[in-house]
C-alpha cells in the first residue's frame, strides 16, 4: 500500500524532527519565531494567487492545506 509507505515515511520524519531538537525552546525564547517573516502562512492572498496560477499551469496540486475553493482550471 502506497499510503502505508507514506505514513511510515512521515512517522520517520516525525522521529527525526524530535531527535534533532536537542534542547527544549522556552516560551520566552521564541521572540524571533513570532516575527511575521517567520510565519508559514504570512501573506494569505499572495500565496492563494500563486497556488491558483501554478495549479492552472502545472500538473501538481496541493499546498499542504485542504479545503480551498476548487476551480475548473485543471
Amino acid at each position: 500500500m502506497r499510503i502505508v509507505r507514506h505514513l511510515f515515511a512521515l512517522s520517520l520524519l516525525a522521529l527525526a524532527l524530535n531527535g534533532c531538537a536537542t534542547t527544549e525552546v522556552k516560551a520566552w525564547e521564541k521572540s524571533a519565531l513570532a516575527k511575521p517573516s517567520m510565519a508559514f502562512d504570512g501573506n494569505v492572498l499572495e500565496a492563494r494567487f500563486a497556488d491558483h496560477t501554478f495549479q492552472s499551469k502545472e500538473g501538481a496540486r496541493g499546498n499542504g492545506a485542504v479545503g480551498g475553493g476548487g476551480c475548473g482550471c485543471n
Binding site: 520524519l13 519565531l33 517573516s37 492572498l45 485542504v66 480551498g68 475553493g69 475548473g72
Partner: protein, 373 residues
C-alpha cells in the same frame, strides 16, 4: 559551592507563581494564538502569459482577506476574490498541431469563510469555500484541529475536506458533469531552536468524476484521481542579518503516474527605514502522466484508451523568480509590491528531456495593502 548543583530557578519559579495574579499573566501571554486585532488585506494581482506566435492570456484578480477575533476564543476569516481571464489559453502541443486555441473570456468569483475556536493548547476550525465561473462551480467544506504539546514546541494538525463540483462547458462537450473529492491531511510543526522552525504535512486526496478537458479535442482522462502530497517547510531567522530564510520542498504523486518536485526559497531582508526586500526562487519539475502523448497530435489515440495532449501533463520543468518590496507603514497601512517571472520548458524537467514543446512564460505583478486595527 552546593548551590551551583541545584536548580533554584525551579523553586523560585514555583514560589513566584503563587504571587497574586502572576500565574494568570503567564498563561495569557503564552496562549497567543487567538488574533488580538482585526487585520484587513487587499490585493490586486495581474498575470500575463507569453508564448511565441500566440495570443496571450491575462488574469486580473482583486482579492480581499479579513481575519478578526470574535469574542475571546473565536476567530473568523473571510476570503473573497474575482478573476477575469481574457485572451487565449497557451498554444502547447495541441494547437501547434493545428487545433485552434480556444479563446477564453471568463470571469470567476470565489470566496471562503472559516471559523476557529481556540482552546488552551488546541484549536478547532471549520469552514466552507465556493467558487463559480461560466462552466464550473466548486463547493467544499472543511474541518480541522490542531494540538500543541505542553511546551508548545510541537504541534499536530489534522484536517479533512470534501468537495462537490459541477462542470457545464460552454461548448456543449461536458453537460452537467460532476466531480467529487475527499481530502485528508496530517501535519507536524516543531520548534527546532529559538530561531528555526520546521513543518511537515502529508495530504491525500481522492477524486472521482469528470476530469477531461472539455475544450481540448480527443481529451480523455481517467474518471478518478488519487493524489499524495508531502510538504516540508523550514524557516530560519538570522539575527545578525535581521533576515529570515524560508525553504520548502513539496513532493507530489498521483494515480495518473504524474509526480512532481517543487523547491521554494525566499529570503526576507529587513532594511533601513522599515523597508523589506524579499527575493524568492522556485523550481518545479514534473514527470508526465501515463496517458499523455507527445506530438504529433492525435498519434496513438484510440477511443477506448485514455489520451491527452495537454502540455500540463507532459514532463517539464519551471523556474520562477520573484522580488517583493515591503514599504514602511504609512497611516496604519503597509504596502507590498511583488514582481514575478515564470518560465516553463520541457528540457528543464529532471531526468531525460522529452520532445520540445513551445516554451511558455508568464509574469505577475501584485500590489498588496494590509491594515490592522
Amino acid at each position: 559551592m552546593a548551590v551551583t548543583e541545584r536548580r533554584p530557578s525551579k523553586a523560585l519559579f514555583a514560589a513566584a507563581l503563587t504571587l497574586p495574579g502572576l500565574a494568570a499573566t503567564l498563561v495569557q501571554a503564552q496562549a497567543a494564538s487567538v488574533p488580538t486585532q482585526t487585520s484587513l488585506e487587499l490585493q490586486y494581482s495581474h498575470y500575463q502569459e507569453f508564448q511565441p506566435r500566440a495570443e496571450r492570456m491575462e488574469i486580473s484578480a482583486p482579492s480581499l482577506f479579513v481575519i478578526a477575533p470574535v469574542g475571546d476564543q473565536w476567530a473568523a476569516n473571510l476570503f473573497l476574490t474575482t478573476d477575469s481571464m481574457s485572451g487565449a489559453s497557451p498554444l502547447y502541443h495541441d494547437t501547434l498541431s493545428g487545433a485552434s486555441g480556444e479563446s477564453i473570456n471568463d470571469f470567476r468569483k470565489a470566496g471562503s469563510i472559516n471559523f476557529t475556536r481556540y482552546f488552551e493548547r488546541a484549536a478547532l476550525r471549520f469552514g466552507g469555500a465556493y467558487s463559480s465561473e461560466d462552466d464550473y462551480i466548486g463547493r467544499s467544506l472543511n474541518v480541522g484541529a490542531s494540538f500543541d504539546s505542553e511546551d508548545r514546541n510541537t504541534s499536530y494538525d489534522f484536517a479533512i475536506a470534501v468537495n462537490r463540483d459541477g462542470i457545464d462547458s460552454t461548448n456543449g462537450v461536458a453537460e452537467q458533469e460532476t466531480r467529487r473529492g475527499e481530502q485528508l491531511s496530517v501535519g507536524l510543526t516543531r520548534v527546532l531552536s529559538p530561531s528555526s522552525i520546521i513543518a511537515a504535512s502529508l495530504g491525500f486526496a481522492h477524486g472521482s468524476g469528470y476530469f477531461n478537458d472539455p475544450y481540448k479535442p480527443l481529451d480523455k482522462r481517467p474518471d478518478g484521481r488519487d493524489e499524495t502530497t508531502l510538504l516540508v517547510r523550514y524557516n530560519k531567522y538570522y539575527n545578525n542579518a535581521d533576515a529570515a530564510l524560508r525553504l520548502s520542498y513539496r513532493y507530489y504523486q498521483d494515480s495518473w503516474a504524474l509526480d512532481a518536485h517543487t523547491i521554494d526559497a525566499a529570503w526576507e531582508q529587513n532594511l533601513a527605514h522599515d523597508f523589506i526586500l524579499t527575493p524568492s526562487l522556485r523550481y518545479y519539475s514534473q514527470g508526465k502522466a501515463d496517458f499523455y502523448v507527445d506530438p504529433p497530435f492525435g498519434v496513438g489515440f484510440s477511443p477506448n484508451r485514455n489520451y491527452s495532449a495537454d502540455a500540463r501533463l507532459s514532463a517539464f520543468g519551471a523556474w520562477d523568480l520573484g522580488l517583493k518590496l515591503g514599504l514602511p507603514e504609512f497611516a496604519g497601512w503597509r504596502a507590498e509590491i511583488k514582481f514575478e517571472f515564470y518560465r516553463q520548458k520541457n528540457s528543464w524537467a529532471l531526468g531525460s528531456g522529452p520532445a520540445e514543446l513551445a516554451p511558455f512564460s508568464a509574469r505577475t505583478w501584485q500590489l498588496g495593502l494590509r491594515h490592522s486595527f
